[in-house]
Amino acid sequence: MKFHLFECPCLKHVLLGKSGSYTLMAETVSPEFALDESDERTVLRLTGDWTVQHVQDVDDALRALNVSSPLAVDVSDLGKLDTAGAFVIDRTLRAAGSAEEGEPEIIGDHPNATRLIAQIHAVSTPAPESPAQDGSIMALLDRTGRSFMHIASESIATLAFLGETLATCARMLLQPWKLRWTSIVAVMEESGLDALPIITFLSFFVGMVIAFIGATTLKSFDLEIYTVELIGYSELREFGVVLTGIVLAGRTNSSFTAQIGTMKMRQEIDAMQTLGLKPMEVLVVPRVLAMLIMTPVLAFAATLAGIAGGVMVAWLALDINPGVFIVRLRDSVPLDQFWVGMSKAPVFGLVCVLIACRQGLNVGGSVQSLGRATTTSVVQALFSIIAIDALFAIFYMELDI
């Protein structure tokens, strides 16, 4: 007869847990086991408390156990037992092959061991093997290909959504009494009027920065007066409208996607459909129309604020009188430049709102998908605005404007 004893150094956990423990609760004793091997069968004698707090201490030793003869468990000296302890005991019995046929063999008396082990035995299955990670070059290529196809399918889906939206808008505009004017005005206020302070502020500062850069560079050629042209061209043509687009992409896109996505997540959109309301008409069209109206207004305000920033710097740093600035601006910057800028505004607004609504409607059932959709919405909108602005630049260059 051989006799092994296994002890574990887990007293520190007991001590750590003691300060907050209930006075009536018995103190926990670390779990231990001993193997009692004979010819017919092996008996596993358990002592201490086999609870979730401490079973980890004997887990490795139990896994390493290699028993050839049938295994029985002696629970007569066992302290407390919970489902975690019962699971580990049952797993050991399974591994030894003695639990295959019917009831596991349990010796000794214990208030709940037999019942608990039987209960756990009925529901414990060996953990399935997790599939190995494929880290080869093929996996990288596979992922690259998939992301590329994803970009392609995203672009097509956005274009399809554009088509659907335009068709719905056209249908709605032919029946203006069906339009939801209240929501349109509400969106105009929330995403247009409320965005006005931040957009004008930002644009004002950007105007100042351009004026400073222009002033310091042009001063070395004694051409400070050309700061006026610099401000005029850049603000009218680019910065006013692009800044508006960028602020909208951050502010409006995230809010639209989160609003629609939350509705989707809470099945409000499903409810809408069953009540005969079309999400396209109720949620998307008012936002599209409101943004088509408000983006040019915001861009206009941004342009004015940018020029105002330029005027201030010119006046304070270059001694160009505001009156002189305005006259020169009118004389040397053609009105075309203003129209070039403003022509981009509704396009940017449309792009933002389309991406926002589509991503919102894409949200699934989890909070994570809502977060992902919001991020995607903002990133796609920023990217699209810059890319479309570049296309516009090429387009107008070919037109010689």
Partner: protein, 254 residues
């Protein structure tokens, strides 16, 4: 069963702004019993549960759990208390960015020294114990039906083999067979683990099958407490209607 109650509430008062939910509420939950809490909607059953586990701060009165007052405990003591109870919320409140198995493993990671392998095995066991298929462990909560989510939530509440289990409407929205299975499971676990259970429910079948005692909330306090038969004899219109109505009679076989 010990003489000291596992939960002792004295003179509790909770309020939302000017609206008082509970006033002078006293309640004891004995060690090893299943206490059902019923009452008309809006009488603060869930608020009481939230107050006991410390999610809602009472404006007056004392709540003792395991003989300790919650609001006087330090962080460390609070943690050691929290690992001795499990809470299952009405809608499951599973973490939606984690799989069911990971959800069950969260309390194990937080409160024990279990290694990843053993805690995954234990989580799988709890998932099956709660009555889910083994493959449910890899799914996300959004892929599960309402009943499955409740079971997953129960598995997470049971993760640390708590001594005290709080259940908020565990059988609401389940089909009768699943609900009956839930009752049996709860009873089995309660017997083999010696659990004390604080159970908020509307389900008369559950009350009858599982609860040792039932507390009726109403008029901002505990109207009556006792076994189902004692309550049937209790003279209060709502209590009479609740247990004497067609559903109540059918469930208790009277």
């Amino acid at each position: 069963m010990s003489a000291d109650p596992i939960i002792r509430i004295r003179d509790l008062e909770t309020r939302f702004g000017t609206h008082t939910v509970h006033e002078h509420l006293d309640l004891d939950v004995e060690r090893g019993e299943v206490l059902g809490v019923v009452g008309p909607s809006g009488t603060g059953k869930s608020v009481l549960l939230r107050a006991i586990v410390g999610l809602k701060h009472p404006s007056a009165g004392s709540i003792e759990v395991f003989g300790r007052k919650l609001d006087t405990l330090g962080d460390e003591e609070r943690r050691s208390l929290e690992r001795r109870w499990g809470v299952m919320f009405q809608d499951g409140a599973l973490f939606s960015n984690l799989t069911v198995r990971e959800n069950v493993m969260v309390p194990m990671k937080e409160h024990t020294n279990l290694g990843p392998k053993l805690s995954a095995e234990l989580a799988d066991m709890k998932i099956r114990l709660a009555g889910l298929e083994p493959d449910a462990g890899d799914k996300f909560p959004s892929d599960l039906s309402g009943g499955m989510r409740k079971r997953a939530a129960l598995a997470r509440a049971l993760a640390l083999d708590p001594e005290l289990l709080f259940l908020d409407e565990p059988t609401a929205g389940l089909d009768p067979i699943t609900a009956a299975g839930f009752d049996t499971l709860l009873r089995q676990l309660q017997k083999s683990l010696g659990l004390s259970v604080f159970l908020v429910t509307h389900d008369v079948d559950t009350l009858n099958a599982v609860c040792d005692r039932i507390a009726v909330l109403g008029e901002k306090k505990v109207l009556a407490i006792g076994t189902i038969d004692e309550l049937r004899a209790f003279d209060h219109p709502w209590v009479q209607e609740y247990f004497g109505g067609p559903r109540g009679r059918a469930a208790t076989g009277h």
